[in-house]
């Protein structure tokens, strides 16, 4: 072969390869022609220049035309898909409704997950922010805090983190320029602002001088507070604002949207002296910024080494505690993560059910279309083209369903948020963003492929002769299609079972929690917090006078049974300290924690907490405060076989040698700190010259909420500078404390109900279709003497069999998956027998109902008509 000839063969082969850029259909139709024309052209030129020109022209032609052909073909298929979808309007609408619900619910839950777990926090370079917390190796999930002197040492010595700052949330009362108002405040060190990388819009943030013990009384305002209360006064800097117990000078205003932590509206500098604070008192939170390239693991191991060093230098403070740096994102979302994951799994199952359901619809439709497919195939459409056509139909369905679903999710977010009775931290934002959008599109695509695949493969591979012979009417697609349909139904029932079990557990747990014995009677109790001017009522006789007078005045109101002051209303995190029982010294690292509540006489009566042994506090205990009332559980734990009354214990680390407290009474156990199990035991101390409690509990004869205004009036009459905040009835507090469990239960219930409906519809549709296919067979049976009831029971049996198969698989799956809920469940095992008896029964009942209608229809088949039908 000459080299010219070789070159020609090469070029021709190359051209043929390039033709591969065309869609297969076009290539099959015109590929040979194109090639021949190219060959003609090529052979007609002689000069290399001419050859180059022909080659470039031809290549340019392909590159220019091939994409257009692809687009053209897709548009054509798309138009065809729309026509088909319009033609089968019923199926299309049903499929769209199911998809919209499935994708909508999924996108909705994803929006929650996005807001809670994914969306970056609104601070500079948020991925480098960490929370630093110390914790006991005994319960690593308990502490989220740090001790002040340790924080100072970490900040000074750590090389892998920078700007370790400490803060603590709280509230303060503003008294100038208008009504007294309680605002959410934060005590923070100077480095908090540096760590967050946020600059004020006015003035400055704190400096070392501000945060020195005895330093100047300064304050930073949030933009919102500055606008709301001070009308954006540009001269605000340098002004003195009376708040809390002091007048503070405004030194800065933070930008809009900055509310660290959670919902803070103003910041005051921390001015504690770290040297005077115990290394084992954990009352601050800490954040820091990782240096570039440092992981939280490396930071944690450095901090751990530093803590060891601190413990070596201060052996008396060595309690074996550990320290860790946790990404701030994870630290903030800690209380929500497990529930969000459980919801994501649940909604994923729901989506799978929706897919199976739509798939089933399309399978039915595909059987009816097998003739169409055969005809198109006979007319030269390749299997690939048919497959693409069917896939495109699914994708159109999926995308339209996804768009509808995204709309539902968009509307659903506010509805979901309205289920939440508490004020969420400001960093949580559930507005749709690109992640949600991308997710919705992705889910729609994946969903389309998931539900479209089986029907598409099934019907594009249809056997020509059978399909044409069978005719459109009974083109059942045979055994394989039937198997597929049944498999879908079984799958739907199984997934529904898992969801039902999860929902059942969540609901049972919620009711168990809400119907438990609380140890107090919340029904008629109102709680409120007072913010009194500290200068007017300093701790001591003046504070005592206020507590006594207000208790008397409020108790005297008509409709009030009793009233009492306390430092902590039920279901609020308390202040806990370590303690030692007299005669049983323990090593610092083994010392347990107990929660302190300081109360005025009347507290137990107001809450209806039973006195078991000993006595309640009296007014005279004010002057001899080293006494205690403990709960039964605490007494039993420490003195299992004897009375606790008369025993003594002491708070704080041994080195501090605090005074001994004598137990004078024992009260019934009660859920003071949290509704769920766990939590620390509680001991009660009498109010005294060191502490003036500021929360008030009022027991009313009727609806406590209705008492609020008369109580307000009475307190204002006593002193109108006392601000009243946090007015809640105890049932409201319980509601607020259990909203996450209710939220989980409500959502899981909704998903389970949807799942059940979809599964029932799936079962119903599948059996109905079977009946319509087997009309002839049923007719023959009946003509041969089968009774209507035997035909009916045959079909019922078929439905029940499918349901039972699904149930079996579902129960196994549920036993595996509901373990995810374990940590969320209250006194209910993930294998709760009642749930596993009741939910399958519900499912079976629904399945029987769904199977009944088609079975009944079958009995009405008239043999004569049925036989003529064929």
């Amino acid at each position: 072969m000459t080299s010219a000839r070789k070159r020609e063969t090469g070029i021709l082969r190359l051209y043929r390869t390039c033709l591969g850029l065309y869609p297969a259909e076009f290539r099959e139709e015109y590929g040979r022609e194109l090639y021949m024309v190219f060959v003609d052209r090529w052979r007609e030129v002689q000069s290399p220049l001419g050859m180059a020109r022909v080659w470039l022209e031809s290549l340019h032609g392909i590159l220019h035309e091939a994409p257009k052909e692809h687009l053209h073909m897709i548009l054509q298929d798309f138009r065809y898909a729309l026509r088909i979808l319009r033609k089968d309007a019923t199926i299309t609408v049903a499929a769209l409704a199911i998809l919209a619900l499935g994708i909508g619910a999924t996108t909705l839950v994803f929006s929650l997950a996005n807001g809670l777990l994914l969306r970056p926090l609104p601070y500079a370079d948020p991925a480098r922010l960490v929370a630093v917390e110390e914790y006991s190796p005994k319960d690593p999930n308990e502490s989220r805090q740090i001790s002040f002197p340790n924080a100072v040492d970490f900040a000074a010595r750590a090389t892998l983190i920078q700007d370790l700052g400490v803060f603590s949330g709280g509230s303060t009362v503003l008294r100038s320029d208008g009504e007294a108002e309680t605002v959410i405040a934060c005590v923070a060190s100077d480095r908090v602002f540096r760590a967050l990388g946020v600059a004020p819009i006015l003035g400055r943030t704190f400096t070392r001088e501000d945060t020195a013990p005895g330093g100047p009384k300064t304050v930073i305002l949030s933009e919102g507070l500055w606008a709301r209360r001070y009308g954006r006064d540009p001269q605000i800097l340098g002004k003195g604002l009376p708040m809390g117990s002091a007048t503070r000078t405004v030194i800065g205003v933070m930008p809009a949207g900055f509310h660290f932590p959670d919902r803070a509206e103003l910041w005051v500098p921390i001015q504690n002296d770290p040297a005077k604070s115990a290394r084992t008192d954990y009352f601050l939170s800490a954040i820091a910024r990782l240096k570039p390239g440092v992981t939280e693991y490396r930071a944690t191991s450095e901090l751990g080494a530093l803590l060891d060093q601190i413990h070596r230098e201060n052996p008396a403070a060595n309690n074996n505690w550990l320290v860790r740096a946790t990404p701030l994102r994870i630290w903030e979302a800690e209380g929500y993560r497990k529930q969000v994951i459980a919801l994501l799994v649940a909604v994923g199952l729901l989506l799978a059910i929706a897919c199976a359901n739509v798939s089933n619809l399309l399978l039915v439709k595909a059987s009816a279309r097998s003739r169409e497919m055969a005809v198109r195939s006979a007319m030269g459409a390749s299997r690939r083209r048919l497959l693409r056509q069917l896939t495109l139909e699914s994708v159109v369905l999926g995308l339209v369903g996804g768009a509808l679903g995204s709309g539902l999710a968009y509307l659903g977010v506010p509805a979901l948020l309205s289920l939440i009775p508490i004020e969420l931290p400001r960093w949580m934002s559930f507005a749709p963003d690109w992640r949600v959008l991308l997710f919705a599109i992705g889910v729609s695509f994946v969903t389309s492929l998931a539900f479209g695949l089986a029907p598409a493969v099934g019907s594009s591979g249809v056997d020509l002769t059978t399909a044409l012979k069978e005719g459109g009417r009974t083109g059942s697609g045979g055994q394989r299609q039937r198997f597929l349909r049944n498999a879908m139904v079984v799958g739907e029932v199984a997934l529904s079972m898992i969801l039902l079990a999860g929902a059942g557990l969540a609901v049972r747990s919620f009711y168990a929690m809400r119907s438990q014995t609380l140890g107090y009677s919340p029904e008629h109790v109102l709680s409120l917090q007072l913010a009194y001017p500290p200068a007017r009522y300093p701790d001591g006789p003046k504070g005592r006078m206020m507590v006594q007078r207000l208790t008397e005045e409020v108790s005297a109101l008509p409709g009030v049974n009793s009233a009492a002051f306390t430092t902590g209303v039920p279901l609020h995190d308390g202040w806990s300290r370590i303690y030692t029982v007299e005669g049983r010294p323990r090593d610092l690292k083994d010392m347990p924690f107990v929660n302190h509540v300081v109360i005025a006489p009347g507290y137990f009566r107001t809450l209806g907490i039973r006195m078991i042994e000993g006595r309640d506090f009296t007014e005279s205990d004010f002057d001899q405060p080293h006494i205690l009332v403990v709960t039964q559980a605490f007494a039993r734990e420490n003195w299992p076989n004897e009375s606790a009354v008369g025993k003594r214990l002491r708070f704080g680390p041994p080195v501090r040698n605090e005074p001994w407290h004598t137990i004078v009474g024992v009260v019934a156990d009660n859920r003071h700190e949290q509704l769920k199990q766990g939590g620390r035991p509680v001991v009660y101390l009498p109010y005294n010259a060191d502490i003036t409690p500021a929360s008030m509990l009022i027991s009313a004869t009727g609806d406590p909420a209705k008492m609020a205004s008369s109580i307000r009036t009475r307190i204002a009459a006593f002193d109108h500078d006392i601000a009243i905040t946090h007015v809640f009835t105890l049932p409201q507090l319980i509601e607020r404390a259990s909203w996450q469990d209710r939220f989980l239960a409500v959502l899981l219930m909704a998903f389970a109900a949807l799942a059940l409906t979809l599964a029932a519809v799936g079962l119903y549709a599948s059996l109905s279709y079977t009946v319509s296919l087997e009309t002839r067979e049923i007719g023959i049976r009946m003509a041969l003497g089968a009774s209507a009831s035997s035909v009916q029971s045959l079909l019922l049996r078929q439905g029940v069999l499918l349901a039972v198969a699904g149930l079996g698989i579902g129960i196994v799956g549920a036993l595996g998956l509901t373990r995810l809920l374990r940590s969320q469940l209250f006194e209910i095992s993930p294998m709760d027998p009642i749930t596993y008896v009741v939910t399958p029964l519900i499912l079976m009942a629904v399945a029987a109902v769904a199977a009944f209608a088609p079975a009944r229809r079958a009995t009405r088949v008239d043999p004569v008509i049925a036989l003529r039908w064929e």
Binding site: V37, S58, G61, E65
Partner: protein, 112 residues
Amino acid sequence: MRPFTLSRDTFHILVALAGCDRHGYSILQEIDERTRGEVRLSPSTLYSAIKRLLAEGLIEELDERPDPEHDDERRRYYRLTRDGKRAAIEEARKLEKLLADARATGLAPKRA
């Protein structure tokens, strides 16, 4: 039938087919010769246009070969349909009108 706008290339193909039925390469040659090489269609452009003209019914594929003597068994021949002829005439008229307008405004030389 919805109006079909003829591109310049498509019009060239219709014109090439106006005289006699042709196969693809012959269409290209005809255009080439008639325009003295000024208009050169690539095979790709040609067959994309042919596909569309067939779909629109402006041309049709022949079942039998018109010129058995010089025929190549494998080639497909195309013929202008009545609709195709009408469309080509319509297009020619439009071009004529456009040319007349151009002349009237002095953009093109007056006819000799």
